[in-house]
Every structure is written in structure tokens, then in C-alpha cells.
């Protein structure tokens, strides 16, 4: 049900992982170490190579499974085959967590938004009213030529 069909990216396309993200992850993982840009680039290349490896292996496994789509079970099998069994539990757990979060998603976000500001609904409405009032006031008292109070539509 979650199969997605994509056209192949093509051999000329140069896709890479974001250096900044990986750099930040490395900083978080090794807080007391220093890395040159070269070494950071190296990690980016290694991650890309890892993705190639897993994708290739998972694809083979899906083929043997007579499936045209790489599914989660193929990826897990690929990890095992490539001697990354140590990841299986964490990856599986992450997957379960992700599925659970996706289900709850929208509701969860609403709840967070409502309680985030620390105001009760009445306080929030009052604050909003005050904001509108001051915005209206500044429209009339602003210096002439300061800028149009009505949008020109741009």
C-alpha cells in the first residue's frame, strides 16, 4: 500500500548527501574531536557508498523474492547479509516508532502548538486582540511615506 513508483534517476545525475547535516551529526557524536573538511567529505562519501551497498543488496533480495519493489523486509535481510546485524534491533525499533508517530502525527502537533506558548486559550485570544489593536494603531500614527499600509498585492 505504501509502494511508490519512481522513474530511475539516471546515470548522469549527481546526488549527494548534505555535508552540513553529516558534519553536525559528527560533531554531536564526537564532541571533543576536530575534523578537517577533507575528513568530513570522506564520511559523506562513505555514507553514500553504504547506501549504494544496502540498496543493491536489498534490490537483489527483493528480486529473489519475486518482488519489483524493495520492501522493509528486504532491507532488514540485506543488513543481516552484509554483517550489520547489530543494527537490526535498533532499526526495527525505529521503524515501529516511526509508524506509530506517523499515525498520531497531526493530532500530536496540534496539541503541542496549543500548549507551547504557555498561555490559556483566553490569554491567547486577549493577546491576539491586543496585537491587532496595536497594529491598527500603528497604521494610523506612522509617519507619512513610511510605507503603504495596504498591500499593493505583491
Amino acid at each position: 500500500m505504501d509502494d511508490e513508483e519512481f522513474a530511475p534517476a539516471g546515470p548522469t545525475e549527481d546526488v549527494s548527501l548534505p555535508k552540513a547535516t553529516i558534519g553536525k551529526m559528527l560533531e554531536d557524536m564526537l564532541p571533543d574531536s576536530r575534523l578537517t573538511n577533507d575528513v568530513r567529505d570522506l564520511f559523506v562519501d562513505c555514507c553514500t557508498e553504504f547506501i549504494n551497498l544496502i540498496s543493491s543488496e536489498a534490490n537483489d533480495i527483493s528480486g529473489k523474492d519475486n518482488k519489483k519493489t524493495i520492501g522493509p523486509e528486504h532491507v532488514l535481510k540485506a543488513l543481516e547479509t552484509l554483517q550489520f546485524q547489530g543494527y537490526l534491533n535498533e532499526v526495527r525499533a525505529s521503524h515501529e516508532q516511526h509508524k506509530a508517530e506517523v499515525k498520531e502525527g497531526p493530532k500530536k502537533n496540534l496539541k503541542r502548538a496549543r500548549t507551547n506558548s504557555g498561555l490559556t486559550p483566553e490569554e491567547a485570544i486577549a493577546a491576539q486582540k491586543a496585537l491587532f489593536a496595536s497594529a491598527r494603531a500603528s497604521c494610523y500614527t506612522g509617519p507619512p511615506g513610511a510605507g503603504p499600509s495596504e498591500s499593493t498585492g505583491s
Binding site: 509502494d3 547535516t21 576536530r34 575534523l35 575528513v39 553504504f50 547506501i51 522493509p72
Partner: protein, 113 residues
């Protein structure tokens, strides 16, 4: 504390990803013979890559630590790749560097023996 809302601690909130899913998906598709990949599989591959990065960096850092250094070097990464079987696939990307002198001395020149 990171200012970026989606990057958590290294161990991460389990269900969230730090690497961009869409980018990883595109990488998966550049692989020959791959036709379709489910969104779940893409998620798992992305998560695995994050764990892999952690593994590789920690192995390299262990070598750095053992020599009382704080600067992570190419050789630290190359040595971890060389010494760990699951990292064999990286041996072309991160080959062990041999010094010129070592290469020369290991080369047998005609008339030397």
C-alpha cells in the same frame, strides 16, 4: 543545543531521521536495476545509514583516542576500514595510504638481489 529543529542527539529520537529522506531516496534510485522502493524501506535505509555513520566515526575515534589525539585523520578512518570486515566495501574509497619510501623499498629493482 542544535538550532535546527530536526536534528536531535546522536542516538536521536527513535522514529525521527536526521538525514533527508528524499535525498536518500534519490540515491537509492540511482542504483542500477532498482525500479521501486517502498517508503518504509527508504526510511530503514536512511536510519541504517545514520547508524553506519555512528559506527564508522566511533571506530575511527577509537584509533584516534588510543594515540591520545583529538584530531580525526584520514588514516584513522582508513585503519578502521582495514581492520573491520563489515567495512570491507569501503576499502576502495578509503584505501590505506602507504608512504612513498615504503613503496620504493618494497619495489624490487633489477640488479638489487
Amino acid at each position: 543545543m542544535s538550532s535546527h529543529p530536526f536534528i536531535a542527539t546522536p542516538s536521536g529520537k527513535q522514529g525521527e531521521l536526521m538525514l533527508p529522506l528524499a535525498r536518500v531516496r534519490r540515491l537509492i534510485k540511482t542504483e542500477e536495476d532498482v525500479k521501486m522502493v517502498s517508503s518504509e524501506a527508504s526510511f530503514l535505509i536512511t536510519k541504517s545509514t545514520e547508524l553506519f555513520l555512528e559506527l564508522l566515526s566511533q571506530r575511527a575515534a577509537a584509533i584516534m583516542d588510543s594515540e591520545d589525539r583529538t584530531q580525526l585523520t584520514y588514516n584513522d578512518v582508513a585503519t578502521s576500514v582495514d581492520e573491520n570486515d563489515p567495512l570491507e566495501f569501503l576499502r576502495d574509497i578509503v584505501p590505506m595510504k602507504v608512504s612513498g619510501a615504503e613503496v620504493l623499498s618494497s619495489m624490487k629493482r633489477p640488479g638489487d638481489e
